[in-house]
Symmetry: D2
Subunit: 289 residues, 4 copies
């Protein structure tokens, strides 16, 4: 297993910056026999906000797992007015995947899940088309197809949401899902829906970005993975990458090169989310290394 | 000298695509004892346009240098309705540099010129501020300062244009020149004014792109060198490159990283232009390797 | 389909450089009503060798498909002492995949084949372990397992070779195959066995390159795809790429980042081979765009 | 100014890892009214070593600047068996530059120094040739030329060392200095001599790496900046970067592309050193962001 996952806890937090915060948090962990294995902090000196990710061993930690939130919340978080969450890496999150017709991102994700590269559970795949049912079946993951049209959209989303709740889904990956997700679902999963957009945002938002890139004559194309907000293609960016193109690349070649970018960028973003390395503030992400 | 420059000729051309064009051009050169040292061609299959760059030795070429344009124009170019130009690499072009207050691009260019890395002449530097006069003096290049304000803009441009003509300037490099160049100058130097814009165009055109990049929370910044057209930051892109940033990068750090991108991208674009590797069609460039 | 494949021919060739070669080849095609759709040439001015890849339409070509080799060979190739091959893109090549225990490259390849991204047939997968049998089965590709030990190596290779011949295999991809391929097989498939090595060759050849990279403290890791020759990790390089690492990356993280590099670099190399864009000369590749 | 420099202190340290170290250090700073502006820590879990860089404001710090080393050393560092150093960013270090004949790195450095991009003093340039004297003169920096031959090498180094001492030089930059620095100088400036090697180390150490890269047919070239140790090209790597090449790149073109890499990679490494972001352990660097 790449990182130590068993019997550790992670706290992700942010609060107004103040002298002595790191000292107080690390003292709390030390006093309770918590050995820190990773600690990263960041201060946004412009906004005066303090951010931190700390992971420590629970083996000799005095506070039992189920009471940490209460103790930390009462003794530390309240005092500093923190927004914070606690995670236990040995409790894998549950992820839903939404797809349409392109298989490259789905294959990339499922190959990682199936080979044990990621510590996650995938109880279901949701699609508006049947094209990728065969891919889901290869990996024995339940595939739910909801053909969407103008008249049934609200109804379908109701059903999808029910399915997500029923399976205790923690976060959603849009693996080239070609529908706009409704505000209802977005608001139920704030900063927990990860999309891949096939351009170097904010360049070329919306439909057909590769065609626009070709038309504009750019020398580099990109892909952007971001948390979904109610404003299209404008959510907090988690990860981006680029690939060089030239005048010899037709639109078809650009699309082919782009697919490799999309799947790698999306998978990197999902892994960062899985490892609890991302924090969102002011529509931007802090991504701890 | 990196490439063979002495006693060779380069033709850059494009025309409607037609079967047999390469055969006819290469046969013309071969029949006249012209040994081809570089040949690159490209067909835009969407627009059905043929592009070519060919460089050949003049040592045994039957047609004397000053008559090549006439012979090629009459026997080949007219027949295929070509747009074309001929260049002799041993006749270095004359470049003007426009600057304002930032020195990094100017230093990068002058260091290359001074060390003999580029085959070009720089008869003058033009600026709207006096800040970089000392840099020009270090390299003994005449520095002309024209402070611009709203009332004297047209007048100043008249003087600049006269200066460019007087010095037989072939092309202009805007090395972080912080003024908008007038349509008059642009139309006099079509596809011969090279600008560096400090963003990954078409993202963040206009003023303060690094601040916009910071606000949007992108994970990669870029720089774009393009030929100047009358539409701001929308001309044909010659070269782009990018650099990774993270939440730890303040705007000041982004600007510092960006400067390294800007100078390298601009210098690459200038070299491509100097080597006659660029062709413009439909507001996009063909850049031969 | 990304590139025009139906009813075209590709010639890949090299020969001693001589004035007029391009003219003669393109004249041959033009005279026989062959419309060129792609042409790339390269002259190695140091070795004085001419290289070319040309693709043309067969629709109106006067010479029938089965006679082109005879006509071109007799009238052109012999005269210029060419090494050359002709390919018809609508006749997909047959590829064998060799694997051991890592699934990432295999999944990446099979997902591309299955989704129709590549124009290739995969009649079989060969392995020295049974671990990836389930992956082959997902895609319904026959999986042949030959456990290798010191005493049966020669015997096993005999059987593998028989299998390759029986299935008319044109080229082999070693998708993280952890055995050294015998000289016998290499000599039967010259420049037709593609390997992926998990380092930036020539740095870190041989075993455990990621561990060596970690020990040396490099800031960038790489992956290299090359044609296999009888000298280990020393064959002609087709494609390389790199990824940034830092002191925060443990060996496990380096291996994880490396896997993404490996699969993308290998797949790019396989595609270049499939599209007949690679030529080998003096243990180096010419890779036409 | 990019980072806050006035009236702050930086401590760089490493020691055997132990529970509670971060708490103790940050408590020490907090108790003495030191507001932390940057804190980065890293644990090498394999070697069980703790590394840290912390920068804090001195404005209200109870301990006066000249006594911090004594207080911190006595109360904290001794207890944890730390190797550590303290720096005050408003006291710029003094840098010597060694050059030979290539000007690109020297220009890049001097342009940054002259424009105020770096907070450093450059009291002298040392060379074994007179070629770059004119560059030094442009920037009014004393240039000392010591032609080296087999018989006078030891003598020359004695003089160079005397010069370095006389000018209180803190660290040395070898900006394409084509001589091997003696063990004597290396031992006097441990991890304080920064070299640029024109390859992607450990590939192609020693002389003529671009020629070797061309011969091997790599698809990517690199440059490596490292601290100089007594083993040639084997010191701790600070920074590396790469650039794509192809079969169309002659050795001359590779050298030209490489020069751009060299100067940028060297300048990035010098800046990291100037900002006290580098720590060396076991011949590897920790480079804090």
């Amino acid at each position: 297993m790449p990182d130590k996952l068993n019997n550790t806890a992670i706290i992700l937090m942010h609060c107004p910056d103040k002298q002595g915060i790191v000292a107080k948090i690390t003292e709390f962990l030390d006093n309770n026999n918590g050995n820190i294995i990773y600690l990263e902090q960041h201060v946004d000196h412009q906004e005066k906000i303090f951010f931190m990710r700390v992971q420590w061993e629970l083996d000799k930690f005095l506070i039992p797992r189920e009471k940490i939130a209460d103790f930390f919340g009462t003794q530390i978080a309240a005092k500093y007015n923190m927004s914070w969450r606690i995670y236990f890496p040995d409790e894998p999150p549950r992820m839903a995947i939404f797809v349409s017709k392109f298989s490259h991102c789905l294959y990339d994700i499922l190959a990682r899940v199936h080979s044990g590269e990621w510590n996650v559970e995938v109880p279901l795949i949701i699609s508006n088309h049947n094209d990728l049912k065969n891919v889901a079946e290869k990996f024995s993951i339940p595939f739910h197809c909801f053909p969407v049209n103008n008249s049934n959209k609200a109804d379908v989303e109701e059903k999808e949401l029910a399915l997500l709740k029923k399976h205790n889904i923690n976060f959603i990956v849009l693996a080239r899902y070609m529908q706009i997700v409704s505000d209802k679902i977005i608001n139920d999963y704030p900063n927990r829906i990860i999309n891949i957009h096939h351009s170097f945002l904010p360049a070329f938002p919306g439909a057909k970005p590769y065609h626009s890139a070709y038309e504009r004559g750019v020398k580099i194309i990109g892909a952007t993975s971001h948390y979904v907000t109610t404003e299209l293609d404008a959510g907090p960016i988690i990860e981006q990458d680029v690939s060089r193109i030239s005048h010899t690349d037709s639109i078809e070649k650009i699309i082919r090169k782009g697919k490799d970018l999309e799947k790698i960028v999306l998978s990197r973003a999902v892994l960062l989310h899985l490892q609890r390395r991302t924090l969102v503030y002011n529509n931007r992400t802090i991504v701890f290394g």
